[in-house]
Symmetry: C2
Subunit: 281 residues, 2 copies
């Protein structure tokens, strides 16, 4: 397993790997890995001869009041986990190698990022699509793998790839949950034991809506109402949004006959958590 | 010489060409070629084994009141000229193959595009950088060649390539002029004989400023004054801007010790013309 810090060296490695006819899979991460990330790694390992995991806490996707400075980091632990996959390369550049001081170019998917988290985190998805475009140009993967927990991120990247003709495949992997249902997230590390307990309300709310939907497909409004009721039952969970949208376009869900994304963002203490589920008729 | 219409076919051609170890040069154009374009083609022919010329009148770089519908087109003539170079491929996609109806992703260099033409053509450079990013991802060139007449476009593309880590080289080629000094442009075809005569004011204004600068380096204000005086002497030439800026950043020129871009945009009749010169101490 190689550790590469500089974009130019990464690019050369990828050129040499492609010249040998090998397929490259990329799993972009911000590190502090958990089993959700490991599911992405296993998917990449199965699909390509060469697997690159990037670890980069991307400053441009954090807003002014957000948790960039305290975002959890543990490179040694991450490297140990990635060695077991194994990945071929950990690409872990410095922010200064990724962004020159006078960088001014942005890549932005303008529609799919409007609602949900995009409405509460202005500039977030612009930072995500920009850094992912950069990673694609540096690592030159044949496929890249993203988790469905960040569903809106997944859709923004799929749009970018299609709209800008990136010649690669986007593969998505379902949410990985703790035994009790909590969606895995690096940010779960922020939770106190009491908050960890309250955080279960998100997955419980989604499960209640899913049960309601399984009983008989219903409108987005109904799903939102069911989920909101569960969240409101737990003190200390502050809803940011509960929304039901078209799972493909993320526009308001217009029909109960196409897949609906039910998505939640909520604060538990100071920690912002997200979770979602897709309901198909 | 192959003519390729579809992005997927172009992409496959480029993959096969790269797999043979050949270098690919791309010259993006909007067609209706003139000797300025041919200088770009010759540069590409000299620098790479495989030369691709794209012809695509890109709708997203035209504003609402601009000349998209009447932009001059003559594919047969263009193809005849390109055959003499020769180019290996003419890539000439339909707008519908380049932009899906729900395309929503934009690439934008936000600083270098603020002044000059960017101030008068909102959205223009966003359309340029977006289509050029798409062409880069489709054609996968090792180098791409642009003319210096569209100097701000050149700088926007250089920024995009650097900021987004496109792994390719941008080569620029000096302005090609008619014998009497008029910068070559497809839009010169719009000019009546009288307008053609008046249009000389742009290159004459730049030459006067250049003469003044050669005498002794002077401030941007002085260069603008000299050029403006010449333009104002010609009736029927309506100045849009005359500006002297730092030739690297396109920010206001701060020092007479670094290269200055003196740029003009003016209307002659209904036709908008641009021209520029770089003055180095």
């Amino acid at each position: 397993m190689q550790i590469i810090n500089h974009p130019d060296e990464m690019s050369r490695w990828s050129d040499a790997t492609r010249a040998r006819g090998e397929r490259i899979a990329l799993v972009p991460t911000m590190g502090f890995l958990h089993d959700g990330h490991m599911a992405l790694m296993r998917e990449g390992r199965a699909r390509a001869g060469a697997l690159v995991a990037s670890i980069f806490v991307n400053p441009t996707q954090f807003g002014p009041g957000e948790d960039l400075a305290r975002y959890p980091r543990d490179f040694e632990r991450d490297a140990g986990m990635l060695k077991t996959v194994p990945v071929n390369v950990i690409f872990t550049p410095d922010a200064s190698a990724m962004y020159s001081a006078d960088a001014e170019t942005w890549v932005e998917a303008t529609q799919v990022t409007r609602g949900l988290c995009g409405a509460f985190r202005p500039g977030h998805f612009r930072g995500v699509t920009t850094v992912v475009a950069k990673l694609f140009n540096i690592v030159k993967p044949h496929l890249a793998i993203f988790g469905e927990k960040d569903f809106q991120q997944l859709r923004a990247i799929q749009r970018m790839v299609s709209d800008l003709n990136f010649d690669l495949e986007i593969v998505s992997v379902p949410i990985v949950r703790e035994r009790d249902g909590l969606a895995m997230s690096s940010r779960n590390a922020y939770l106190s034991p009491e908050e960890r307990e309250r955080a279960l309300a998100l997955s419980l709310a989604l499960r209640a809506a899913r049960d309601r939907y399984r009983c008989a497909p219903c409108s987005g409004e109904e799903l939102v109402a069911v989920a909101t009721r569960v969240l409101n039952q737990t003190p200390g969970v502050e809803i940011e949004y509960v929304e039901a949208v078209d799972a493909r376009t993320l526009a308001p869900a217009s029909s109960i006959h196409s897949p609906i994304l039910l998505a939640i963002a909520a604060r538990v203490g100071k920690t912002r958590l997200i979770d979602n589920t897709v309901l198909s008729p």
